[in-house]
């Protein structure tokens, strides 16, 4: 279990920017902006040079202080309001004092200095983002207000420094925007609020519902890729070959579900005493009790309001499954089957609600075919 925990934390730290602020422990930006050596230093005037030295030193001290606090920080930052406030005010102070200096002698600073301050402001913003979940909403609002104020001062200072050129914030993640190129013809220019004919909403969905004690087999190969729905099944054995865009699973008791890859997500709600063998880009599990999941998944599987659920790697075989997996970009074992996020247990220590299925209890490769029915 300890090994699992360590690898879990490792993965948390690896999460990229833009994904899940909340869990990201390592929030320091990797950009050059926080790296003192990258600051501009071409100006040879001795007094300015001195100032730069001082600034470099300050930055380097802060950098080290951060590195230290990161090491000693065994709990993620989001668990303590105090540590958040301390870090917030430390960063804020350093930004303010740098701004003051720039404001007093704008001629001795360059645009790079400003960019650096701007990067720190973004950093501060991220810190708030990550911590917003445990913070009282007052603190969140107050912090956001502080950030807005800092941005305003920064712009004011920027105006002094580069009076002609417009200075603008660039979020670290913002690339020059490259919106989707082709806009196809849009269907509903003006939505018609009263459709002429009301169609029954469950009509188009394929799937199985309200069955008991049956073996249910479906081969999706060659059919239009759509969603597939399983609902209200008791003691059934479901074998689904081929690819789908999404799978919805609702109210299953004592069932076994073996399914080929889903391109989008598998959404599961209210299942008990079941076994699932699933491959998908996303897997979202709600209200599951005493279930085993054998998964291949590109992102991190999540559980919510669930307990006694166990996880193992995908183990399905049917004729043509390799092609199906490859075409769904699920041919590669990402190892994510064990990187489960429990929305009801947002801490670094292992959630008591799920575990890894011990190897000696796992079923081995399971083969299904169209003839099973």
């Amino acid at each position: 279990m300890i090994k699992v925990l360590i690898s879990l934390i490792g993965v948390l730290n690896l999460l990229g920017f833009g994904q899940n602020f909340f869990y990201r422990k390592n929030w320091l930006p990797e950009s050059d902006a926080s790296n003192p050596s990258s600051m501009s230093n071409q100006n040879l005037d001795p007094s300015i040079h001195k100032k730069h030295q001082a600034m470099l030193e300050r930055l380097s001290n802060r950098h080290q202080a951060r590195a230290r606090s990161k090491e000693s920080d065994s709990c993620p930052s989001f668990e303590s309001t105090d540590s958040f406030l301390a870090r917030f005010s430390e960063l804020k102070q350093s930004i303010t004092s740098e701004l003051t200096q720039i404001e007093q002698t704008p001629e001795s600073f360059t645009k790079a200095d400003l960019d650096n301050v701007s990067a720190q402001v973004s950093e501060l913003e991220k810190l708030v983002a990550e911590n917003s979940y445990h913070l009282p909403s007052y603190e969140v609002r107050a912090s956001l207000k502080t950030i807005a104020d800092l941005k305003e001062s920064l712009e004011k200072v920027a105006l002094k420094l580069v009076p002609r050129k417009k200075f603008s914030f660039k979020g670290k993640a913002s690339k020059p925007s490259q919106p989707v190129a082709a806009v196809e013809k849009v269907k509903n220019e003006k939505p018609d609020l009263v459709p002429s004919e009301t169609r029954s909403f469950v009509l188009d969905t394929s799937g199985f519902r309200d069955r008991k004690g049956e073996v249910l087999v479906e081969n999706l190969k060659g059919k239009d890729m759509g969603e597939f729905m399983l609902s209200d099944l008791v003691s059934c054995d479901v074998r689904l070959m081929g690819r789908s865009r999404a799978i919805f699973i609702h109210r299953l008791r004592n069932c076994k579900v073996y399914a080929g890859p889903a391109l989008g997500s598998v959404l599961i709600d209210d299942v008990e005493d079941c076994v699932f063998v699933l491959a998908s880009h996303q897997i979202r599990i709600h209200n599951a009790k005493r279930c085993d999941f054998y998964l291949r998944v590109r992102s991190r599987p999540i559980i919510e309001d669930s307990n006694c659920v166990r996880f193992a790697p995908y183990c399905l075989q049917y004729d043509g499954i390799e092609d199906d997996l490859r075409e769904s970009r699920l041919d590669e074992e990402t190892g994510n089957w064990e990187n489960v996020d429990d929305f009801k247990w947002l801490r670094a220590v292992q959630s008591p609600n799920w575990s890894i299925l011990p190897e000696n209890e796992r079923m081995s490769d399971f083969r299904i075919s169209s003839a099973d029915g």
Partner: protein, 185 residues
């Protein structure tokens, strides 16, 4: 020129818009934001918290707050209401079972005083999935007609997979916000 007038001028020049993006979990919010920003959408985990994206769109800078929609997280949505110029509500048009949930959460949100001035864009997402409801059907199920008459809103069918409809939606939202905020230009 006094300080205040400088700041005001910068603010107008900056043209920043704050956009809050919410909706049930799995509706496709994160996928939409990444797609519109031209980023890779092939590995997205359910959002455990939120993401902020700053993108420039036409002559505006959009600060998009993409907040997770899992049940546990919905209680925190209200932390992000302040100063919202535009609200994007994303619907999974293929998730028929949860449309009631979807309607209730939306109408709860619209009761919120702090959001009363925000333009509302509803994305009827996942139109590429066979069996998805059309935007007009979604409008009906969500009872959009019952909304406060002063609200600026629009529903647009889209697919974060193909990109279809995304620009139409954002164009409308940005124009609608601009016409309210930057009247002086």
């Amino acid at each position: 020129m006094g300080l205040l007038s400088i700041i005001r001028k910068i603010k107008r020049k900056e043209k920043e818009m704050r956009i809050l993006m919410v909706g049930l979990d799995n509706s496709g919010k994160t996928t939409i934001v990444l797609k519109i920003n031209g980023e890779d959408t092939s590995v997205i985990s359910p959002t455990l918290g939120f993401n902020i994206k700053t993108i420039s769109y036409q002559k505006y800078t959009l600060n998009i707050w993409d907040v997770g929609g899992q049940k546990t997280i919905r209680a925190y949505w209200r932390n992000y209401f302040e100063q919202t110029d535009g609200l994007i509500w994303v619907v999974d048009s293929s998730d028929l079972r949860r449309l009631d949930d979807c309607r209730n959460e939306l109408h709860n949100l619209l009761k919120e005083e702090r959001l009363s001035g925000a333009s509302l864009l509803i994305f009827a997402n996942k139109q590429d999935i066979q069996g998805a409801l059309s935007p007009s059907e979604i409008a009906k199920v969500l009872n959009l007609d019952a909304m406060d008459k002063t609200r600026h809103w629009k529903i647009v069918g889209c697919s974060a997979y193909t990109g279809e409809g995304l620009l139409e939606g954002f164009d409308w939202l940005v124009q609608d916000i601009a016409s309210r905020i930057y009247v002086l230009d």
